[in-house]
C-alpha cells in the first residue's frame, strides 16, 4: 500500500464516523445474517481492508487486546497503524483477545481457540472480524434472535466445515464467539445465539 500516508489514514470526523460504523455493527448483530452498509472513507492498510480498519477504530482501544491472523500479523504497517491510531495491545494468545482480525474466512478454524467467555461472564469472549470476498445467500440457513423467519446466508470463500464449526459454537451458548463479516462497504454478523442448518 505504497503512497498511503497511514498517519492520516483515520476518521475525518471521529465522533460522527465512529457512530455510523457502530450503528452498522449494532444493526448487523441485531438483524443478523443480512448484509448492510458499512460506511468507511478509509484507505486500506497493508492487507487490512477499510471496513475492518473502521471497526478497529470504532471498537478497539487500550482496554481491548487485539489478535491478528497470520496473514495480517506480518504487516508492519498494520501494527504501526494499530499502535498509533487506537493504542490496542496486539497479542499472540488468542484467548486474551477482545477482537481478532482475519483477511480471509479460510483462516477461521478452529473457533474454540478464542476466548469463549466463562459461565458467569459469557461476555468475556473474542469478537471475530473477518474480511470476505462476497456475501451470498445460499450456503447456510440461520434462525434465532433477530430473524423473523429462517434466513439463507453465506460468504465466499466459504470455510470448509463451517456448518459444523458454527453448530459447535452455538452449542456452547451462552459461551462462544460472535462473527462480523466485512465485504467492501458492507457488513453482516453472526451472533452466537444463531442456529445453523445446511441447505
Amino acid at each position: 500500500m505504497e503512497g498511503v500516508d497511514q498517519l492520516s489514514n483515520s476518521f475525518l470526523k471521529p465522533v460522527g464516523d465512529s457512530h455510523e460504523v457502530f450503528r452498522a455493527a449494532m444493526n448487523a448483530l441485531a438483524y443478523p445474517a443480512q448484509p448492510r452498509v458499512l460506511p468507511s472513507d478509509l484507505s486500506p492498510c497493508g492487507p487490512m481492508a477499510p471496513g475492518s480498519l473502521a471497526l478497529l477504530l470504532t471498537l478497539a482501544d487500550h482496554d481491548t487486546p487485539v489478535w491478528l491472523a497470520s496473514s495480517l500479523a506480518t504487516s508492519e504497517s498494520l501494527r504501526k497503524f494499530i499502535a498509533f491510531h487506537c493504542g490496542a495491545p496486539v497479542v499472540d494468545d488468542p484467548t486474551l483477545a477482545a477482537f481478532a482480525f482475519f483477511s480471509s474466512p479460510l483462516e477461521l478454524a478452529p473457533l474454540a481457540r478464542f476466548a469463549q467467555g466463562d459461565p458467569d461472564y459469557p461476555d468475556r469472549s473474542t469478537t471475530l472480524i473477518v474480511q470476505v470476498e462476497a456475501f451470498d445467500d445460499c450456503a447456510w440457513r440461520f434462525s434465532g434472535p433477530g430473524l423473523s423467519s429462517p434466513r439463507s446466508f453465506g460468504v465466499s470463500p466459504a470455510p470448509k466445515g463451517f456448518a459444523d464449526m458454527w453448530t459447535a459454537n452455538h452449542a456452547g451458548f451462552p459461551l462462544g464467539v460472535d462473527l462480523l463479516f466485512v465485504c467492501g462497504k458492507e457488513i453482516a454478523a453472526l451472533p452466537r445465539s444463531l442456529r445453523i442448518s445446511e441447505i
Partner: protein
C-alpha cells in the same frame, strides 16, 4: 480556577462510548444476559435514568429523532429533563410522536403504538437482576444464571398462587428470553410484557447504578413466566379512557375530587392525543 470543559457530542467522551458500545454488542449477542459495564457518573442522579441515558448517548447520532417518556408520558418532569439534556448536549431532533422517533428512551412503559424495525427502545432499569429480591447476593445470582437454575423464582411464583390464588406481581414481571435467561423487563406493568415478544425493534436496557446493560434483539421469543394451570394474564383496568375512549390502552387512575371520585385516562399520552385527533374531542 480551571476552565470547565466543552462537553463531547452527547456528553460522553469517545472512550466511554466505545466501552458502552462494546457492552451493547455483547448484550445483543447474548439475549437477556446482564453485561457488566463501567457505568460513569452522569450529571443526573443514580436511579433517575443514568443507565438509559448512557445507552442512548452511546447509540445516538445526529440523524436520530429522540422521544423520551416516563410513565408513558412525554411531559413528566424527568422525561422533560432527559429530553432537554440530549437536545442540549447532542442537538438532536426530539419528538413526542412514537412513529417518528428512531430512539425511544422510556421509564416504566412501552408505547401502545407498535414499534418498527427502524426503532430502538432504551429502557431505564433500577434493579436489573430479576432474582435480586429472592437472593440479595450478586455472587449467588450470577451462579444461578450460569447454571440456568431458576428454581427460586418458580418457588416464589408458586407461593404467590398458594397464598393469593394469583401470581402477585403486577409490574417488573419476569420473562424468559429465547428460552435461556430469566430477565427483568424493568418496572413496566405486566400489561406491557407481550409487546416485548417478537418485537421488530431492538430493545436495550441500561442500569447505571448497578452497571449492567442487557438486550432483546428484534424478533426474539420473550415469554412471561407462568404455570400451565396458572397461565400469564395480561391485566388492565376495565373501562375506557375519559379523553379518547380507548378500551385497549393501559389507563392511569386520576383522583378528581375530595370525595374519592375517579377518572381514567391513557398513560401513553401520544397514543391518546393521536386517538383524539382522529375522533375529535369527546363531549
Amino acid at each position: 480556577m480551571s476552565d470547565l470543559p466543552e462537553y463531547n457530542f452527547a456528553y460522553l467522551d469517545e472512550q466511554t462510548k466505545r466501552m458502552i458500545r462494546r457492552a451493547i454488542l455483547k448484550a445483543i449477542a447474548i439475549p437477556g444476559y446482564q453485561t457488566p459495564f463501567a457505568s460513569r457518573e452522569m450529571p443526573m442522579p443514580y436511579g433517575w435514568g443514568t443507565g438509559g441515558v448512557q445507552v442512548t448517548a452511546a447509540i445516538l447520532g445526529t440523524d436520530d429523532v429522540l422521544k423520551v417518556i416516563d410513565q408513558g408520558s412525554d411531559d413528566t418532569t424527568n422525561a422533560v429533563s432527559i429530553r432537554k439534556f440530549f437536545a442540549r448536549t447532542a442537538g438532536v431532533r426530539t419528538t413526542t410522536r412514537t412513529p417518528e422517533a428512531t430512539i425511544i428512551q422510556t421509564r416504566h412503559r412501552i408505547p401502545e403504538t407498535a414499534l418498527g424495525e427502524h426503532q430502538v427502545i432504551v429502557y431505564q432499569v433500577p434493579i436489573p437482576e430479576p432474582l435480586r429480591f429472592l437472593e440479595p447476593r450478586e455472587t449467588e445470582t450470577r451462579r444461578m444464571h450460569a447454571l440456568e437454575d431458576y428454581g427460586v423464582m418458580h418457588v416464589k411464583l408458586y407461593e404467590d398462587i398458594a397464598q393469593h390464588g394469583h401470581i402477585a406481581t403486577a409490574y417488573a414481571y419476569p420473562v424468559k428470553v429465547d428460552e435461556r435467561y430469566v430477565m427483568d423487563p424493568s418496572p413496566t406493568p405486566k400489561f406491557d410484557n407481550p409487546k416485548m415478544n417478537q418485537c421488530p425493534a431492538l430493545q436495550l436496557f441500561g442500569a447505571g447504578r448497578e452497571k449492567r446493560i442487557y438486550a432483546i434483539p428484534p424478533y426474539t421469543r420473550v415469554v412471561s413466566l407462568d404455570f400451565e394451570d396458572h397461565p400469564f394474564e395480561r391485566t388492565r383496568i376495565s373501562g375506557a379512557c375519559s379523553l379518547c375512549n380507548s378500551t385497549k390502552a393501559f389507563l392511569d387512575e386520576v383522583i378528581t375530587d375530595d370525595q374519592g371520585g375517579r377518572a381514567f385516562m391513557c398513560s401513553d399520552t401520544d397514543y391518546c392525543e393521536q386517538a383524539r385527533s382522529r375522533i375529535g374531542p369527546l363531549s
